[in-house]
């Protein structure tokens, strides 16, 4: 960090709270962002000289509001402004008088800001882009790079998203309990979307996308600090941490995906695992299970297994069964089939996924899993056909590389029966 590195760190951590309060003030994303930017510029001038304010967010909110009002005055009356020094001294004094703001006091503001970014009217790609721009403060260039699109295309995507949000007229009143809980669910889904966008295995591009995972973790922490007693938010945080802990082991040196059971578990980040396990432990005490908690519990069982053969597959099968009832989806059933193949064998797993072919026929993981089950049953020719289909449907080079490895093993005489499974989309 350079001499003023601490300022960027403080500005970044105060950003969601400050922008959220300014959004309530101005009821317009662009105006809130501009006011925040102006406050940051003044902070860069004032803080090195005067030291950091006691409450950075309160300072930025106050200064941002005043700066915006100054602008309005300037535009409407064209009056000469007082000298810049005078303005900052004035605003500093006002900000110092402001009581230190507890994050919890701004709970509904921050939730609204997050909710605005993932408004149901927005397609998923716009939700993620908007949240990263507005809440996380990533630049358009940074987001464009993570999404592998041009700066101009990303700029346009964000502009469109803002226009839709403005047209959607999100209410600014304090939400009631039902509204708040609905918003919380939508925001949690958006954060998991950001995480998955970064977590999707894509070989050489992995480094470029990694910031998305870190941003998702930051957003989840923010949400959990605001709602410390919501077991599903604890579950979401635990799920993300437990999955992210495995990141260092998920790609081999050639950029091919490494299956959970083949990963070098010594590379897993034990600090993230400890935090994830503590959170799921805390969540379960509430006795209010939900899909994030169940998925986190599955990830926790993998994290607790020192060796792959220590994995409690029977428990994982049960948890996927629970998840099938809570949030039915063919992808969940497909994941459950992997656990079933471990507990009851590949024949049972194959029978279980047959009915899914209509819905998952165009899904990479379906053919990868079916190929693996067939291979374990010694039906090599059918397995080869499935693996070929999987390669044709692979979303990323890393996925294709992994399946090619399976095909090579088939060509070598069937590989090692029972040792290969498909990557798990949900817990993998």
């Amino acid at each position: 960090m350079n001499d003023n590195g601490w300022i960027s760190a403080v500005l970044a951590s105060a950003r969601p709270q400050a922008v959220a309060a300014l959004l309530r003030q101005f009821r317009n994303l662009d105006a809130a962002e501009e006011a925040y930017q102006e406050a940051c510029l003044r902070a860069l001038k004032s803080w090195p000289r005067n030291g950091p304010p006691r409450d950075a967010a309160a300072w930025l909110i106050m200064v941002g509001k005043n700066a915006a009002i100054d602008t309005v005055r300037r535009q409407s009356r064209m009056q000469p402004l007082p000298a810049d020094e005078q303005i900052s001294d004035l605003t500093d004094a006002e900000a110092a008088a402001a009581e230190q703001i507890d994050e919890a006091d701004y709970r509904d503001d921050i939730l609204r800001l997050l909710f605005v970014c993932c408004h149901p009217e927005l397609p998923a790609t716009q939700q993620i882009a908007l949240a990263l721009r507005i809440v996380s403060g990533l630049t358009v260039e940074q987001i464009a790079r993570a999404f592998l699109v041009s700066d101009a295309a990303m700029e346009q995507r964000i502009t469109r998203a803002k226009a839709r949000v403005a047209a959607a007229n999100v209410p600014f009143e304090t939400p009631g309990p039902i509204e708040r809980s609905e918003r919380l669910g939508v925001v949690a889904a958006m954060i998991y979307l950001v995480f998955n966008e970064g977590y999707t295995i894509n070989g050489a591009e992995q480094g470029v996308r990694a910031p998305l995972c870190n941003e998702a973790i930051r957003l989840a922490r923010l949400l959990l600090r605001l709602f410390p007693a919501e077991p599903e938010i604890m579950g979401l945080m635990a799920l993300i941490l437990l999955q992210h802990a495995r990141s260092p082991a998920r790609l081999d040196d050639n950029g091919a995906a490494v299956l959970l059971q083949d990963q070098d578990r010594a590379l897993w980040d034990q600090r993230l695992i400890a935090e994830g396990l503590a959170l799921i432990d805390k969540a379960v005490r509430h006795g209010r299970p939900g899909p994030y908690q169940v998925q986190a519990a599955i990830a926790a069982l993998h994290a607790r297994a020192v060796r792959p053969e220590d994995t409690d597959w029977a428990q994982i099968d049960l948890l996927y069964g629970t998840l099938e009832r809570m949030a039915p989806s063919p992808v969940v059933s497909l994941n459950r089939a992997v656990a079933v193949s471990k507990v009851q064998g590949p024949a049972a797993a194959l029978a279980m996924i047959e009915p899914l072919s209509a819905k998952l026929g165009g899904y990479f993981y379906f053919h990868g899993a079916r190929g693996a089950f067939l291979k374990q049953l010694g039906r090599s020719e059918e397995a080869r056909i499935e693996f070929d289909r999987a390669i044709a449907l692979a979303n990323t080079p890393a996925e294709a590389a992994h399946i090619r490895l399976e095909l090579d093993r088939l060509a070598d005489g069937g590989g090692t029966p029972g040792s290969k499974q498909k990557p798990e989309k949900i817990s993998g």
């Binding site: 760190a9 403080v10 970044a12 951590s13 105060a14 870190n214 930051r218 922490r221 959990l224 600090r225 410390p228 007693a229 604890m234 945080m237 980040d269 600090r271 400890a274 935090e275 503590a278 959170l279 432990d281 805390k282 005490r285």
Partner: protein, 141 residues
């Protein structure tokens, strides 16, 4: 006064038991949680160098790095039965007076221990925070 020789004076030099100090670490979690892994590792390495020196001098006792406050649970023991709250201890009218480190299978066990301690000493609160990094240390006690 010649009868009072040097031996009668309280001996405070080398044999004296040193005072133990607890050093409590405070920082803005929003900032530290946003550190990159590289930055975090670099900070830990720098701290490790200081700790290594203290350890060689036999001065270092146990060191713990706590997990974020989002993993915390608080037991208010100023009422009966005590109240379990998710999140860190947030009051400012009480002060940190001490701490325990206990090995537990899970949060339930930690809460059971905390409740037992709370019965022995009602009033105030305990914050239960999982420990992320722990060095036992070997300072003479």
């Amino acid at each position: 006064m010649s009868a009072i020789g040097p031996l009668d004076r309280p001996c405070i030099e080398p044999e004296a038991k040193p005072m133990q100090y607890a050093i409590l670490c405070y920082h803005d979690e929003k900032v530290t949680c946003a550190w990159s892994k590289e930055h975090d590792d670099a900070v830990m390495a720098k701290l490790g160098a200081v700790m290594g020196k203290l350890e060689r001098q036999g001065k270092l006792g146990p060191v713990a790095r706590l997990l974020p406050t989002t993993a915390a649970t608080t037991l208010r023991k100023d009422r009966e039965p005590p109240l379990v709250i998710d999140g860190p201890f947030a009051e400012t009218k009480e002060q940190l007076l001490g701490f325990y480190i206990v090995d537990c299978a899970n949060l339930d066990e930690a809460l059971a221990i905390t409740k037992e301690l709370g019965q022995a000493n009602p009033g105030g609160a305990y914050e239960i925070r999982p420990v992320g990094v722990f060095f036992p240390g070997k300072a003479a006690s």
